[in-house]
């Protein structure tokens, strides 16, 4: 094997599908059509809670097929964790926009013009997560002796912090096409579903159960996906189920693509949270007791609330050391559309609270925000809230110090405070502030999750190199490119000679979902091992020589948990994640004293991620995730009225435009994780943990005390009184 091939890892190689994306050749689900295609439309509940009394299709039924829960051959559930959510409502309605009926027709105009009248028996909805009678999950994390911790405190600081819903707002809406039979092989039984998604095997399993079909009769193929951010992690199982039912009933391919309004009304959002802190601290700034209580609003069905809560609670104390910690969290039900996965997955909510609280502690003690964090930041050898002893790859202090240095934080903080001067009535111009946040984010599934997933990856030898077979999906973050770089180097071939198979359950093993910042660290490592073995098997032969001599070669490997990792799921103690990424954000804001509009003017983000496989793509994740975090902090608000999103259009749900996004300085640090490919950890989610608390801390510095996001001008105005 030639060993003079230029290394791909660490270089900004060209995106595998980049040319297709810039020429319009990339095919997203709505770009596809099939002969005999029918269109479907979902009829949804218009009340938030109650029962269906009667469903009536009005007008001419010619050409229409109707699909309801009676047409479900298997079990009427969206298989996920709790299996409490029906695919199509039978009688009980638990949220507005709950799917009840599907209409199918070949003419889209007739489909849209059809009228269905539904009579309901409404019942009283509950929108308050704190008084809900239904708890999906509780989590308790205990470390040390909380009473002893408070006894040792000189000062106790309390606070309550709130975050709202956030809509993922992928620019491509949810969509699928279901085709009866195996669309690829031509076999005529079973079902094939193409679609925009992050996790083909989640959809595969959900369809098996919904349709009562064995694994080999269900085939799920991911199409080029225009953004996911978690919004296409579990939700596609529902839209795929709907299209599949319609396809099986009509015997024809059925396309179901949501328009923006429906997507915003009906699909999952980030869990709103209420997080309360009670913290004991010595007068010189050391944390002695951390007591946290969190309530997450799960919406009407459990979906992934248990796991969102889990990650949220594990990160709830922030990247800080303390011997006495108690964390209590619960996810409860409200009569609103179910909430689900969104980048960060519970950690943005709890770290928002932790970081705003930390600044308030600093203020109370007369310490600056950097000092309080330097004193308490986790160091290698320290233990986390779950008792995990951190390894050498723990970089809280490094990222903090780098960010402080790069932004001249302390100097800027003094200068801006002087520029603001004493508050006077009638002062004009902007009030200015600078704020920072320190955060961390575990990569991979929590605890024993990766062991249970038992992810697999396969590598097939090709004439010039290899082809990667994984269920991990490209959703913009660079999966295809990054995995090809890892394999190319481990195999000793050129990056261009490694290709990536489509994420087609008929052709790839289950590598687990594309979530939890695991694709590089977990799946990439499995592929690296495949490539290492393949290289050993090749010996001195080229791939072509090997194939001619020995025939095909496919190497499949499964996740291996690193030695020494221990986790107790009952006590919630142990090694929650293989590794953590570490980040520190600094933001400067201008607050218009006339309009209370907040403009971030400078943004710096330092991330330690083990190893940047593709530095430009890693920066891309940080810039993009940070922009979403700024939106979360300042602009993005889901207005709920009677349990239904009242601002479900892009005109009224506000994400940052180019003019809302500040220039960003991104710094990558590398402190390798021994079990990641080339030392890499995850990077996809962590960037969204930092901006919101940094912004709110900057606002505090500018003179506005907020405890809730989004920090809209209306809220800043109230805080100014």
């Amino acid at each position: 094997m030639a060993s003079r091939v230029r290394k791909a890892v660490g270089r900004n190689v060209l995106r595998k599908e980049g040319h297709d994306k810039v020429t319009g050749a990339a095919r997203y689900i709505d770009d596809l059509t099939f002969p005999g295609l029918l269109h479907a439309r979902t009829i949804r509940s218009t009340i938030p809670a109650g029962e269906i009394a009667r469903v009536r299709f009005k007008g001419d039924r010619g050409g229409f097929t109707l699909v309801d829960h009676h047409d479900i051959p298997g079990r009427n559930i969206v298989a996920l964790i709790d299996d409490d959510q029906p695919c199509l409502a039978e009688r009980t309605i638990r949220h507005a926009a709950e799917p009840i009926l599907l209409l199918v027709h070949d003419d889209r105009e007739k489909l849209l013009a059809a009228e269905v009248q539904i009579d309901y028996r409404p019942s009283t909805p509950n929108y308050d997560p704190e008084t809900s009678a239904v708890t999906f999950k509780t989590i308790a994390i205990d470390k040390g002796d909380l009473d002893a911790g408070f006894a040792a405190a000189d000062v106790i600081v309390e606070g309550e912090y709130r975050t709202g819903h956030q809509e993922q707002l992928y620019i491509e809406t949810n969509g699928v096409i279901a085709v009866p039979g195996d669309s690829v092989t031509g076999a005529d039984r079973g079902i094939t579903v193409y679609g925009s998604m992050q996790c083909p095997y989640y959809v595969h399993r959900a369809l098996m159960i919904l349709l009562g079909l064995p694994a080999e009769k269900v085939r799920v193929i991911q199409t080029e996906t225009g953004g996911g951010f978690g919004g296409k992690e579990e939700y596609p199982s529902i839209i795929a189920g709907h299209a599949a039912l319609a396809a099986l009933k009509t015997g024809r391919p059925v396309k179901l693509v949501y328009d923006r309004v429906e997507d915003m009304l009906a699909t999952t959002k980030r869990h709103p949270s209420i997080v309360r802190h009670r913290t004991g601290v010595t007068k010189d700034g050391r944390l002695t007791a951390v007591d946290i209580d969190a309530v997450f609003d799960g919406g009407a069905y459990a979906t992934l609330s248990a796991v969102v809560l889990s990650r949220g609670m594990i990160h709830a104390a922030g990247p800080y050391r303390c011997d006495h910690i108690r964390i209590r969290g619960r996810a409860t039900m409200t009569n609103t559309p179910p909430n689900g996965a969104f980048r960060g997955f519970g950690a943005p909510q709890t770290q928002f609270a932790a970081e705003v609280h930390m600044d308030r502690i600093a203020e109370r003690l007369g310490l600056d925000p950097v000092r309080i964090r330097e004193i308490n930041a986790l160091r290698p050898g320290d233990t986390t809230a779950t008792g995990q002893r951190l390894g050498k790859d723990s970089s809280a202090l490094q990222v903090l110090r780098e960010a402080v240095k790069r932004t001249e934080f302390k100097k800027r903080r003094r200068a801006l405070a002087r520029a603001n001067g004493p508050a006077e009535a009638g002062r004009h111009g902007a009030a200015k502030g600078i704020g920072l946040s320190l955060f961390f984010h575990g990569s991979g599934f929590t605890g024993a999750g990766e062991v249970k997933l038992a992810a697999k990856a396969s590598l097939a030898l090709t004439d010039r190199g290899a082809r990667i077979h994984v269920a991990s999906t490209e959703i913009g973050q660079g999966t295809r490119t990054m995995l090809a770089q890892i394999v190319a180097d481990a195999l000793g071939v050129k990056y261009d000679d490694v290709d990536v198979n489509a994420a087609d359950t008929g052709e790839v093993p289950d590598s687990g979902p594309t979530v939890a910042s695991r694709t590089c660290m977990i799946v990439g490592r499995i592929l690296e091992r495949c490539a290492e073995e393949m290289r050993a098997r090749l010996g001195r032969l080229t791939p072509r020589q090997y194939l001619r001599t020995f025939g095909p070669l496919v190497i499949t490997k499964q996740y291996e948990r690193p030695a020494g990792m221990v986790w107790d799921d009952t006590l919630y103690r142990g090694d929650a994640y293989g590794s953590y990424g570490w980040g520190c954000d600094v933001v400067e804001v201008d607050v218009d004293r006339d309009t209370f509009e907040v403009r971030p003017t400078a943004f710096t983000s330092v991330h330690e991620i083990g190893k940047a496989i593709h530095p430009a793509f890693a920066v891309g994740q940080i810039e993009g995730g940070s922009a979403q975090g700024l939106g979360y902090a300042l602009l993005e608000e889901v207005v709920m009225r009677d349990g239904r999103m009242a601002n479900a259009t892009l005109t009224n749900y506000i994400i940052p435009t180019s003019l809302d996004t500040p220039p960003m300085t991104i710094v990558l640090l590398e402190n390798p994780y021994p079990h990641g490919p080339s030392g890499a950890k995850g990077v996809g989610e962590m960037p969204i943990d930092g901006p919101a608390p940094a912004v709110v801390n900057a606002l505090r510095h500018a003179g506005f005390d907020l405890r809730e996001i989004p920090a809209t001008p209306e809220r800043v105005m109230v805080a100014s009184k």
């Binding site: 994306k21 810039v22 994400i655 960003m664």
Partner: protein, 146 residues
């Protein structure tokens, strides 16, 4: 004169004559009648810019343009750039495209900025194109390095 039964326009340099309803959205005419699916629908309300095409050289949201308004005009879609346009190359080389769904509209809006635009010109000129993946920075880098 009443409703025009045909709409004639020059599409990516070639003449097209189509029997479409004059009020059909140009977006749908391009995607369905012309088979060019590079132009995308993201919102249907003129907010996201994923449907941006050039109409007589100026960027418009094709989801808000009736076919009748393309009659007699020059329409350029992403497919009309040929694949080797300096902006297309730059978006690949400098990370301007992540998931790619905003990319066709973004590139066409960038084409309309002309050569060597300043950062402020870029920011204003792209204010009608939403991107959720990149935070815009890599898009600016791509355009400035094109």
């Amino acid at each position: 004169m009443t409703s025009v039964p045909f709409v004639s326009f020059v599409l990516n340099g070639r003449r097209k004559k189509l029997a479409v309803h004059p009020m059909k959205r140009l977006l749908d005419v391009l995607r369905e009648d012309c088979g060019l699916t590079g132009t995308k629908e993201g919102c249907g309300e003129g907010e996201c810019g994923a449907c941006t095409v050039l109409l007589d050289g100026t960027p418009v949201n094709s989801c808000l343009v009736p076919a009748a308004h393309a009659d007699g005009a020059r329409v350029t879609t992403i497919e009309g750039l040929g694949g080797r346009h300096r902006l297309q190359r730059a978006f690949v080389e400098h990370g301007g495209a992540q998931c790619g769904i905003c990319t066709p509209g973004m590139i066409l809006a960038a084409v309309a900025l002309g050569p060597r635009p300043s950062l402020q010109t870029i920011k204003v000129g792209l204010a009608g194109n939403l991107c959720r993946c990149t935070g815009y920075s890599a898009i600016y880098r791509s355009i400035r390095n094109a």
